[in-house]
Every structure is written in structure tokens, then in C-alpha cells.
Amino acid sequence: MEAYQIREIILQQSKRANVGHIGSALSIADIIAVLYQDILRNTKPDDAERDRLILSKGHAALALYAALFLKGWISEKELNTFCQDGSLLGVHPESVLPGIDFSTGSLGLGLSIGAGAALAARLQDSLRRVFVVMSDGECNEGSVWETAMFASQHCLANLVAIIDFNGQQAFGYTKDILSQHAVVERWQAFGWDVHEVDGHNTRQMVDVLQNLDWKKGLPHLIIAHTIFGKGVSYMENRIKWHYFPMSDEEYTQALREVRKLEGKV
């Protein structure tokens, strides 16, 4: 599974369905590719011992559907129902769809669910791990910081939160709204094991994730520096692409650009 394939599907499906949230999904394409290709231990969607993944920034679910399709857990026919009437594949992920561990869509809820899942695994002497993919804007929510305190208090080393740190939120740039300055120090002060990565460098992300201590110590935070809309030049860092669908011309150009990313790390 390669990130460019995820990007291609994001573009195809959002064009077919004529919907937005494209930039948010493109932002996490490499993170999702790394998790599904190299990190998650999940052979079957209903295996109780599988690693859990919570896409707390649920509005990027299309990237997740692309991964589930590439993994063979949903069919092309099912994928093509994205945002159609009666589909299980809505804008935000629904746990009734095999492969989606938890439904999300309201920001600030995923990390606490992840901490519960991680603590449950420890109580059950299970080696399963919990991954929570969050947005930087989501860290505006106070509930995130309640869980930040709890997870370090209980040394949830089997929990990793990955922040898609693209500096952009729904109605502006993060630095202008509630700045996340000193983000590393903030999370370290809350007792987390913090790593910064280039969220589009898959090799670097694999390397960091594979070398985390999952058994003892602190919960892990990966700050993945990303570019909103990554891979499509006219979408990069533009708030508009949180909302708008693509015109035919825009779609053609976008597809051409992401296909050029094939084979690139």
C-alpha cells in the first residue's frame, strides 16, 4: 500500500461524490499508508487482539476507506458508494463498517476512547496497541488535555497519538486562532514521550513508530508535520480545500500531480 494510491482514491471518490474535506484527507495519506502497510497488527477486522485505530479527525475518513479498500476489507463496489444515499461510507467513519474500530466525527473524543482501549488491553494482559490520529485544531478541545494527563499518569505505553500537524483548521490557520506554539514542550510537560517527524516521509515515520517502547514508560505522541492538501499544488495550505469539491479541470490536474508521487517516499 502506497500513499499515492490513497491520494488517488481520495481524489477519485471525492470527485465522484462531489464532496469536500479533500485537503484534510490528503494531509494524512502518508500517515495512514504507514500505519496500514507497516505498523498495525490487524489481520482481520473482527480479531479481538487486533491493534485499534481511532481516526479522531473523522472528517478525513476517505483516507481510511482508501486504506481499507487497498487492504481488501471493502470491495470496490462498496468504496464506490462513498457519500451515496444509504451508504455505510459517509463523510465520517461508522463502526458498523468492518475495519472501523470506533465511529468518530466530533473532535476531541477519540483520545479518551483510545486511552480506555489501551488500559483495557493492559488489564487483559494483551499486547495490542492503540493508535489515535488527531488533528492539531482538535487540540483546542479541553477534553484532549484531560486524557493527556490521564494517559501519562497511568503510563499507557501501548497508546500512541499521532497529530496531523498541518497548521490549519476549519476557519483559519492554527497560529491565528489558538496557537500550538511549543507543542513539543506542552506534551512533554503533560508527561508524554514526544517525537517530531515529517508526516510525508514514510521511511522516517516507520522508523520512529517501529522503535517505540510499547511495553513500559510513557504514552507516545508523534507530531507529524504535514502539509494540508499535500500532493496537489493548488490545494496545499489553502483553507478552501477543507470545504470545496473539485471542478473537472481541477480534478484532472490533481490526479496527474498525485500520480507523479508514485514510488516517492
Partner: protein, 306 residues
């Protein structure tokens, strides 16, 4: 009834290791026995209700039955969205144990009064909403429901002593327990004020010569429609009593059943009319101020009968 409830939970936890107990830093002098007996299954998560309810979703998905303990207002209002999008949405067996119904926290004031918990909880499809009327009923209720594969909200009173005469610790999901028989009038009540309903019925049936039945409703959701319908068809006048705002709780539920079923029955809803901001006092003072006493019920009934 909270002590009896927690004691029964501690007993259940001896044989069922799926049971966890989480508290948002409350339960002094109530939760210690559980915490000492099961230190690995007890978590004081701190003053952080949102996180607690989120955690419970993760626990329950992994096969646990987490019980979450706090004062009813704090547990239902602050983390309402976490409960809705977590346990309710995912149909997971999370149990909210909200302590103190109505004015039980007396002098603590409005921030501590649970006056809309039934209303906000029962609008959510899939949540079982339960409110025992006395300690013995709380214990039976817990034993009969704790394994339900659905989220539950329990409103548990602080009062460990008041007994509802005639209830004898009965509870079945979706039923109404008739604790006084009568034929002129029916009083339906929920929770810890039910003993006042029985006292009022005894005054009415005795010196007022108005034969009054009392039904204790302990299941508010799913609505006990069949049980209520069959009772309401026997009476032309009914009074509801609850330590809750008049809107949203038992009175509204009974009004819905009457309207939906086209039942020829006149209803008077007793509850809290206005937000009790400002002057506070003991629970008895607050209940008296807001007409939740036996005397107020008797007055209301006499006016209805006039």
C-alpha cells in the same frame, strides 16, 4: 440508596471480573470498600468527567462493564456528548451511576441539583434510564440489569434510609410497581420522592375518602408503555410526582403515553417549575418550596377533585 447499590456492586464484582468502577474524584466514604477489594479494577480518574466517559467506551469495547460514579448533574451534563457518541452510538454496556436526584444536595445549590437528567437521558434511543425509589429496589435493579448489553443511566439517591412502603425491593425492567391499590385516583412517582406519594395516598384514602393508588415507575427508558397504558385505562385522574423539572421526566412520559394511546385520563404533573436559583436550603425545605411533599400532593388532588 448509594451505599446499598455500591455494596451490591462490590458483591457482583467478586464473581464478575468484567466489572470496573471509575469515579471522577467523588465517593468519599462510599467507594473505599470496592477500591480496597479490587484495586486493579478501580480508577479515580480525577475531576475529569469527559475523559472518564470516553475511557469507558474503550473499556466496554474490550469486553468490560465500566460503572462510572459521580454526582448526577456532573455525570450527565458535562460529558453528555461523550456518552452519546461513545457508549450510546456504539451500543456498549457503560453504566453511569449518577448520585443525588432532585434536591438531595440541598444546601449545595443548583449546580448540584439533578433536575433534567431524566429528560436529557431518555431522549436518547438505546439508553436504559433507571431510578430506584429506595435502597432495596436499587439492589434488585442492579442485579437484574447490570449485564444488559446496552448503556444504562442509574439515578441513585443519596438517602440510605427512606423505605417506600409496599415496594419490598421489587423491580422488573419496564414494569410499574403498584404499592397502593385504589380506584378514584392514581399517583405515579419515580425515585426518592415515592415515599411522599405513598404518604399522600394514605391521607387521601383515609381522612379524605379518596381511594388512591400509587404506582412506582423505575424504568423511564425504554418507556414502559404497556404497563402504563394498562394502569391508566383504569383511572380517569392521574398525578405524577418527581424531583425533576416538570418537563422532560416522568410527567412528560405519562403525557406522551396518554396522548399516543388516546387514553381518556386527566393528568396533573408535579415537579419543579422554575430554576431554583438563589435561595437554597435543606432537601426538605427545597421539596416543600417546590411542592414535592405529601401535603402538596393532597392539595393538588383536592383541587382536581373539586
Amino acid at each position: 440508596m448509594r451505599r446499598a447499590f455500591v455494596a451490591a456492586l462490590t458483591t457482583l464484582a467478586e464473581t464478575d471480573d468484567r466489572i470496573l468502577l471509575l469515579t471522577a474524584d467523588l465517593g468519599f466514604s462510599v467507594l473505599e470498600s470496592f477500591a480496597e477489594k479490587f484495586p486493579d479494577r478501580f480508577f479515580n480518574v480525577g475531576v475529569a468527567e469527559q475523559n472518564m466517559v470516553g475511557l469507558a467506551t474503550g473499556f466496554a469495547e474490550a469486553g468490560y462493564i465500566p460503572f462510572l460514579y459521580s454526582i448526577a448533574t456532573f455525570l450527565t451534563l458535562r460529558p453528555y456528548e461523550q456518552f452519546r457518541n461513545g457508549a450510546i452510538y456504539h451500543r456498549l454496556p457503560v453504566r453511569l451511576v449518577g448520585i443525588g436526584g432532585g434536591f438531595e444536595y440541598g444546601h449545595d445549590g443548583i449546580t448540584h441539583f439533578a433536575l433534567e437528567d431524566f429528560g436529557i437521558m431518555r431522549v436518547q434511543p438505546g439508553v436504559t434510564v433507571l431510578a430506584p425509589a429506595d435502597p432495596a429496589q436499587a439492589v434488585t435493579m442492579l442485579r437484574k440489569t447490570y449485564q444488559l448489553h446496552a448503556p444504562i443511566y442509574y439515578r441513585i439517591g443519596k438517602d440510605d434510609n427512606t423505605i417506600v412502603p409496599g415496594l419490598n425491593g421489587q423491580f422488573s425492567l419496564g414494569t410499574v410497581d403498584l404499592v397502593r391499590e385504589g380506584h378514584d385516583l392514581l399517583i405515579l412517582s419515580v425515585g426518592n420522592v415515592s415515599s411522599e406519594a405513598v404518604a399522600a395516598a394514605d391521607i387521601l384514602s383515609g381522612e379524605m375518602h379518596t381511594s388512591t393508588a400509587v404506582g412506582v415507575v423505575a424504568t423511564l427508558n425504554p418507556a414502559p408503555v404497556d404497563a402504563l397504558e394498562s394502569l391508566l385505562h383504569r383511572f380517569s385522574q392521574v398525578v405524577t410526582l418527581e424531583s425533576h423539572y416538570r418537563n422532560g421526566g416522568l410527567g412528560s412520559l405519562v403525557a406522551e403515553v396518554i396522548a399516543d394511546g388516546g387514553i381518556p385520563c386527566r393528568l396533573k404533573r408535579l415537579g419543579v417549575d422554575t430554576m431554583p436559583a438563589g435561595r437554597t436550603g435543606s432537601e426538605t425545605f427545597m421539596n416543600t418550596t417546590h411542592g414535592l411533599t405529601r401535603q402538596a400532593i393532597v392539595q393538588t388532588v383536592l383541587q382536581m377533585m373539586r
